[in-house]
Symmetry: C2
Subunit: 768 residues, 2 copies
Amino acid sequence: MKKRHLISTCTRVLVLAALPLIGFVPTAQCQTRLSDYIRPFVGTQGEGNTYPGPSAPFGMIQISPDTDTTNWETDSGYEYTDPTIQGFSLTHLSGTGCPDLGDFLFMPQVGQPALFPGRKDHPEEGYQSAFSHQDESAAAGYYSVKLLKSGVTAELTAGERAGMLRFTFPASDQASILTDLSHIIGPWHVAESRVRIEDNSTITGFHLINGWAKERYLYFAARYSRPFDGAVILSDGRPVIYNSYANYRFRSRREAAGTRLQFFALFKTHAGEVIQVKVALSAVCSADALQNLDAEIPGWDFDKVRAATRASWDRELRRVQIEGTPQQKETFYTSLYHALLVPNLYEDVNGDYRGFDQNIHRAKGFTDYTVFSLWDTFRAEHPLLALIHAKRDSDMINSMLAHYDQSADHLLPMWELQGNETWCMIGYHAVPVIVDGYLKGVRGFDAQRAYDAIKTTAMNPDYDGLAAYRRLGWVPCDEENESLSKTLEYAYDDWCIAQMARALGQTNDYAHFMKRAAGYKNIYDPSIGWMRPKDSRGHWRAPFNPHAFGGGEHLADVTEGTSSQYSWFVPQDVPGLIALMGGREKFIAKLDSLFTDTEATKELSPADQRGCIGEYWHGNEPSHHIIYLYCYAGQPWKTARLLHQVVTTQYGNQPGSLCGNDDCGQMSAWYLFTCLGFYPVCPGSDYYVIGAPQIPKAVMRLSNGKTFTMTAEDLSDRNIYVQSVKLNGKNWDSTFLPYAELKNGGKIDFTMGPQPSTTWGIHPSIPE
Amino acid sequence: MKKRHLISTCTRVLVLAALPLIGFVPTAQCQTRLSDYIRPFVGTQGEGNTYPGPSAPFGMIQISPDTDTTNWETDSGYEYTDPTIQGFSLTHLSGTGCPDLGDFLFMPQVGQPALFPGRKDHPEEGYQSAFSHQDESAAAGYYSVKLLKSGVTAELTAGERAGMLRFTFPASDQASILTDLSHIIGPWHVAESRVRIEDNSTITGFHLINGWAKERYLYFAARYSRPFDGAVILSDGRPVIYNSYANYRFRSRREAAGTRLQFFALFKTHAGEVIQVKVALSAVCSADALQNLDAEIPGWDFDKVRAATRASWDRELRRVQIEGTPQQKETFYTSLYHALLVPNLYEDVNGDYRGFDQNIHRAKGFTDYTVFSLWDTFRAEHPLLALIHAKRDSDMINSMLAHYDQSADHLLPMWELQGNETWCMIGYHAVPVIVDGYLKGVRGFDAQRAYDAIKTTAMNPDYDGLAAYRRLGWVPCDEENESLSKTLEYAYDDWCIAQMARALGQTNDYAHFMKRAAGYKNIYDPSIGWMRPKDSRGHWRAPFNPHAFGGGEHLADVTEGTSSQYSWFVPQDVPGLIALMGGREKFIAKLDSLFTDTEATKELSPADQRGCIGEYWHGNEPSHHIIYLYCYAGQPWKTARLLHQVVTTQYGNQPGSLCGNDDCGQMSAWYLFTCLGFYPVCPGSDYYVIGAPQIPKAVMRLSNGKTFTMTAEDLSDRNIYVQSVKLNGKNWDSTFLPYAELKNGGKIDFTMGPQPSTTWGIHPSIPE
């Protein structure tokens, strides 16, 4: 990012005022606010797949500019290097690796309205407009851009379910605001849509998308700040109007149903005329969308909505207050912002939501959420929420339990998207989310009900090779794709189930699932020293290349990676893995090789190589815990060195700073934990792994209101190695941070230095 | 109909038992019940477009066999002359001229299940089966047929929202019951469908149809009387099953979404094994369909459901008890059955329904109905309901007012179908329904609110040439199709509005609408003696042929008929029409010519000529009142002669007895009134026109509980002319029956004879 996208007025005044004084002294009148550090453009260039538009924390609505809908790599709709904007749609996925959403595009135009977006390199053909980053800014709850074609300035803000678009028009007899109901991000199909002109300044609409989510219903309502001077609905590019000779009989011009619908609000504008559009969503019905709109934004005060959302972000960001350089703060708070965008609110103000069975349910005793990217978020995103946001985590767990109740397959969600199961990715990682939450004190859900759902899910006779896995102890590669990854992830999930079984006194279940959790050993091939796919007769996959993406020729044994990455996925039993690999020395040597071998990456395209350190690939989740494994083997300085490398090279405050998909906050949550000096290598366990802090100080406000403070004395770009640690005032030589030491608040004090300590953490006391 | 389709056990026993006795003496133990006279096959051959399957009175569900889905003339799905049955679907339109519904086909099969219906002449290709009328029967609430291909006997029964299918299978390892979610009657599009296996004997499903109704949502639930031995969902003919190598990752085999879905319940059956399926509908959601199912049919007693629906029909038919021959009773009670099938219940047991705005509403203080074929049913169907079924009529009026409230165009319904406006046909004939109801004492709705809706509808600036009609006094033929018919029908509707305005004391409105009501005079061309299209400059359409269908070359000035038929549509001012046509003699001569001229019909196809008497076409509604116009001109014997001709040649108890579309009961309601000796020529007026009774005696139970009795002394096939009338004991020479003489009960006694009376009715005292 070549320029600062937002310098708040407040900050600028401060800087000027501070000049003659003694440096940077925030005053009570005009303090720099934490939300000022949010850089919404981070991750919008390349594979981060974030979006720059405004959203409230965990909000239902995300209004953001779309520059592309067809490029699979632009899954959020916005790519920073694109030259044009198609318009502003109301929903966006944050950091996913699959496109969807982008529902209901709003785009102002001046002159004869265009009906198609046109091509990026020929925006004059359509309604998309060139723009310049010079005329663009984004902040917490706010985005603005000047559209060069029309001269319209577009500003966006968003509350939880409703938001506003503010358009400043030039003088024109032909000003218009398009709503394109067929706009969607990704190659998806509009099965049905509908739009209605409710009155002379209100419309409602709907579409049903067959996309990543197989059957996704979304409704919207829009109120305009003044009556239309004209209004027309187009279906397949033709006006739906009363025309006695074109239509044999009357057809309403006030509503239409079809698969390619567009609505144009037409205005005659004077120079500088501001026309605002209030919008809201519902997954239930258009009446609920209108109710959400009027309940959340009764007036027309754009700045009030913006200020309220900014204040919400300030409240959220205060959960972790840090010290550091402006760049560190921008990176940290933007990461926290990304971590607190998703999952998304999915119930209306009246508590109704569309269930996984497509029936309308009322959320009783909880708030319903959607967008569960669980294969990613079980790792650090949900452990973060459990720690600092237990109420939300509880609501999310209840949402998943409702999903289970509504599931035809009696399964907890895998990758849930707006009331649909996408069956994306593998494992049953709702389990570690629920178990880690439960064991970390998240309450507000029925533990026994949750356990029943967990166990039923893990016993499903149909799901992805589970039956064979239960029979054999591994997922057989001749019967099931991705068998290597599934075996490892199931074993970890099963270990989590065992922990909850133990907590609930289910002794038999504990034994059963602990046995399953050891199944990872069944696919370790000592002859090659790596995890290896095994068939149903017990024969190893041959040929097999542990360094090949997907596993080699078959290309489907390993999920989005190599065995050389996946072999480390035994978070539940690292000592067991160490033993399996021949002891600590061999374990370390193999781990070292991961960061130097390049066989796996040499055939990757440049786009896929982002985040690679040897065969370690920070751009995707299977690698996320691996750096911390040195801490189990007495060489925490290697963890420290690599963490520093990743933090300084693969995160930042620039559009291109994210090395891979943010994946609904997981990439960001990794960063947040890592900065704080510890990481949940094994969610569901009662400890974190101490790595190396990346910021000088942080104060976390835990879910229970207690604070836990981290300090890193002498931390600098050179002093990256932990020399010693004090935990709640005691010397702490372990590389493990027990949850018990954290949960009631307290402090951890690191002393950092330029060389690895020869004493700290070299005798890891591995928690059992 | 070559054979009697149902002789109830009861009747057979009676006949045998009665032989040695003194004739036909019903006993208390085993009386012939009115429902025994229902002949559901009437109207299923040719253009009647009725269906033979079971339905409760005004029921939401109509389970019936479908023999065709593609022939536009088989709009109910069943054509009596077809040799095969595709299966049994859950919804059917009764007598419409446009195909739709046929939702959710159930079909038992034996052997390898077929996936396509196949062709009629090659049923072996698909799942459709040959059948014989010898093996088929239908009665109130019951239908059965033996499917020759599989040997399965299928029996159907239906309650209000739920019904049952009972299949008796032969022994087979490969028995199955298909549910085809893509089956639909007509050339319509499945925009989306979904099916879910809820448990081992329950499924739910849904489809969204873009059809005659632009966006029609319907949900179903089905419970099977025993667990499936297997179950499979097909999408586009391919199994949706767990198959690790065909599908890269897990896909549920318990649910699917798509546009061509089929569910197969698989069974191993022993000889004679009965498998029952309980089914229910909802327009709201599948949860409501399940709720409707379990509330209405908690058990598995097919015969109990059948008996309950039969009892409902007995209760309904007792509203008009007649004497007559078995054939007269069969024709009469079948007509009453058809008149009381539609409109259809549209709310769930919890009161929820899908509104015209596609939001879910709860009906408060009324029961919601759908299927309003108003261009047809304002004529005699709704006047019949107002007279004998005021509560239902009130609910229907409230349903229409809710539709108005939910209409984007602020219009009362025109041709409503399952929460959609089809914009089918012309006029705004919700108006006469509401006005006639109100003036006939139908209560339970807010009269002022109804009046506001009526007036707003009639003032709509967009609807079908209304603006020009208000400006000019006629609908101009250069600006609007069907201008001749629209002008005449608007004028009548406006007269109705005036009557309600007067009743509510709206004097100015009364004058305004009475002026509009006289607009029919603007398009009467004395030079040709017929109504004639006029353009916006006041010039007559030329060339113009009053005897040509549609009006001649332009083919779009007259709605489904000729000016020679439509010129008589001035029910609100027949004296004015008589004057316009040059007085009584000329009026009569012209009316005579209608029944002898053949120019209009000679070019019609044989199929379209059904019901033609000269240019009078009983097969379509614009002619329905015309025969009664002789009674305004002092020649009631011509009415009598023609009524007798129509009743004896165009109605009956056979499949082919109906000469035209039953049109949701209108054809049948015409017959019912005509049999009773009077007809609502001008709904909204305070009188009926006395024609000539066609049955010897009838006792009507009016909505207020009073009875009105009709007797026709000496009526026979020869004695068809009214000689004299006594009304409530008084001699009654008028051909008009005031509502005031009827509403408190009483009697009308006709004396019939073989020759026209030279005295009765020759001095018509035309009500003003």
